[in-house]
Symmetry: C2
Subunit: 392 residues, 2 copies
């Protein structure tokens, strides 16, 4: 069920070549507290820069304007002006004078068609309240094969807090997010500082722990709006913890969906590293495996090629006790003391594991107690097909 | 033409599943000075460890024993013993008591079939001198689509110095080499110290400047033997320079062939970075582009998707003056001052560049005078097909 006090408006403006839904407004009735996490790419898209500047000034935000089909990235001053203008058109047409944050996803380096925002603003305003969050989730899709939406409730003594979130993303996901957008809506009343901390934590173990192809985009954005419409204020540290858990959980559900929807992906690798010296080491090693095209293609072919995993670990740049490394496919130990435990007789069991939709592989080290887990997509023909001619 | 004083022996021992040439001896009549460069993977294959230990003791080497089909990697003490035994069998059968260096390439984590080396040793010994370097280049192939061989001559006042080299490698190439082997043979008389320095330099700008898929193997090895059979001694620094140039040149030719033969690769990207703060930065940025699956698939699709290149540069982890970055496709400037110079009217010219067998793209920065150039393969359907079921 939707959190209280949010409404949605969707239109087809022509950002996408096909006549599909390609822009949306997500608005809160009351002004909301907004937290944001953004791409670390040096070339940040105009809307990302806009959002970061706005949130540096104030965390109070009325809503989000989003388009798909054009990323408004690498578009210089024109792109920045278009971005600011688009917000102004919305304010005028919606009769608002409060901050709205822009997000864009799509092709890099193209300017918007002239007048497109001016034209669509009254349409979006007319549609206010007429659309559903499901329609928003469709409007933000680019190469996504399916829309991504998730809901959560949290029961408190004072009543129910609701969360809803939409995300888009398929390729270019990692490290540190990528062409992905996620909007989390919540009707709790929160403090800006804690809400930002909670979102940062949630992103670290969700969108920042997935890899589709190792590319990171210019536009990655996660925004979380809490509008207080439930009238439940998060004051106790106990409730904060519960909220953090739910926030992480909803982000992880959407992160999982993004990996599932990896361009052409057929399965998800859940790869974990335990016993590392530091969490950074653990994540670095996990990413070396998750980003390896050889591992990804073996995953696609359901081939239990553990040698490629070992090779990826060995070149990860992390120093570790090689003799102590253990590699497991689910609970089957295949490599230990720098030699295979693997026997031909295991092949059937390993193949069965590799044939699953979710393949769980883990490495255990003896260097410390840090750990990390990532989700990675496989690499198949469809990835090549989609990406060899996405732009054209 | 072959350098003087080397002879070759090839056999089909059964390391490969099909009845193909799969092992070879490369021997020098006189004992040769050997230099070596090896994988930096933590899991080094048994033959790599053997070579490194031998060369640490002495650089005098009689020859090289190589097999394809089984990498003897991640094979523990058994693998080490097999490696040492294989050399002993060769010494016995060839009647040698001087060092021979082993190299293996193929599947990781499988032990050799029992008795395979003992059985093939007399066959190789019988074939001594009967085979050509071309046959050696075939015997070391695994997923290679074509054999890789190169020749060079250097005219000196005292006569001609000859070089010949064979290499294998297609996937798993980068960074810092990968499942690649290269053997350089030369008939000059060299000092061990300089010869090692010269090889290290040559590898840096050849095999360590290519990327097929970002994976690095457990077995990468480059060995260079100089046996002095030409009776020309390299003593002057002038001749050293000329020799270094030829050595780099022959390595670059083979590195190029490896990228051309990238598993399923259809073209080569020559990507250069100029004006970087340090060479390390330049190489890091170049690799971020060369290893990006999105760039690689665009290359495969001959799509001039410069936005993906900019995005890869931006996430490379190198800090630079973003406004000063210029991106060129050959001599066409497409991006400058953080905005596209690109116009739709350029599309035809850019598409023509992308359609070439060698696509030249460069980035110019204003942060210093360091530069780097790498060769990268594209990523197409064949890469997926080959790697989804290589092991089975």
């Amino acid at each position: 069920m939707l959190p209280q006090g949010f409404y949605f408006s969707v239109a087809s403006a022509g950002f996408k070549k096909e006549a599909k839904k390609d822009c949306a407004m997500l608005l809160s009735e009351q002004i909301a507290t907004c937290a944001g996490v953004f791409t670390q790419n040096i070339f940040k898209a105009a809307p990302v820069v806009y959002c970061m500047q706005e949130l540096a000034k104030s965390s109070l935000v009325q809503g989000i304007l989003v388009n798909s089909g054009n990323a408004n990235a690498c578009t210089g001053d024109i792109g920045k002006k278009e971005c600011a203008d688009s917000i102004e058109y919305m304010r005028e047409n919606f009769g608002l004078n409060t901050p709205i944050l822009p997000c864009s996803t799509g092709v890099i380096g193209q300017q918007f068609q002239e007048g497109i925002w001016k034209k669509v603003a009254p349409i979006l305003a007319t549609n206010r309240n007429k659309n559903t969050l499901e329609e928003v989730s469709e409007a933000i899709m680019t190469t996504d094969a399916f829309p991504k939406i998730a809901y959560r409730q949290l029961q408190t003594k004072e009543g129910e807090i609701r969360f809803a979130a939409v995300a888009k993303g398929a390729g270019m996901i990692s490290p540190n997010m990528a062409t992905m957008l996620c909007f989390v809506l919540c009707d709790a009343k929160v403090s800006a500082k804690w809400w930002q901390e909670a979102l940062t934590k949630a992103v670290t173990s969700s969108f920042n722990a997935i890899t589709v192809d190792g590319d990171t985009s210019t536009n990655d954005t996660v925004l979380a709006l809490a509008n207080g419409a439930s009238k439940i204020e998060i004051t106790s540290s106990e409730l904060e913890k519960e909220m953090e858990k739910v926030l992480t959980d909803i982000c992880q559900e959407l992160a999982y969906k993004i990996v599932q929807d990896a361009e052409g992906g057929t399965k998800v690798l859940r790869f974990s590293v335990k016993g590392a010296k530091t969490e950074k080491d653990a994540k670095k090693m996990a990413y070396a495996v998750g980003n390896s095209p050889l591992v990804k293609t073996a995953l696609f072919g359901a081939d239990a090629n553990w040698g490629r995993i070992v090779a990826a670990i060995g070149r990860s740049g992390v120093s570790f006790q090689a003799e102590d490394l253990k590699l497991y496919f689910e609970d089957i130990l295949v490599f230990e003391n720098a030699i295979p435990v693997y026997k031909d007789t295991m092949e059937e069991m390993l193949s069965a594991i590799m044939a699953k939709n979710e393949v769980c592989i883990r490495v255990e080290l003896s260097d410390g107690s840090a750990e990390a887990e990532i989700l990675a997509a496989d690499l198949g023909y469809e990835y090549v097909r989609i990406n060899a001619d996405y732009r054209t």
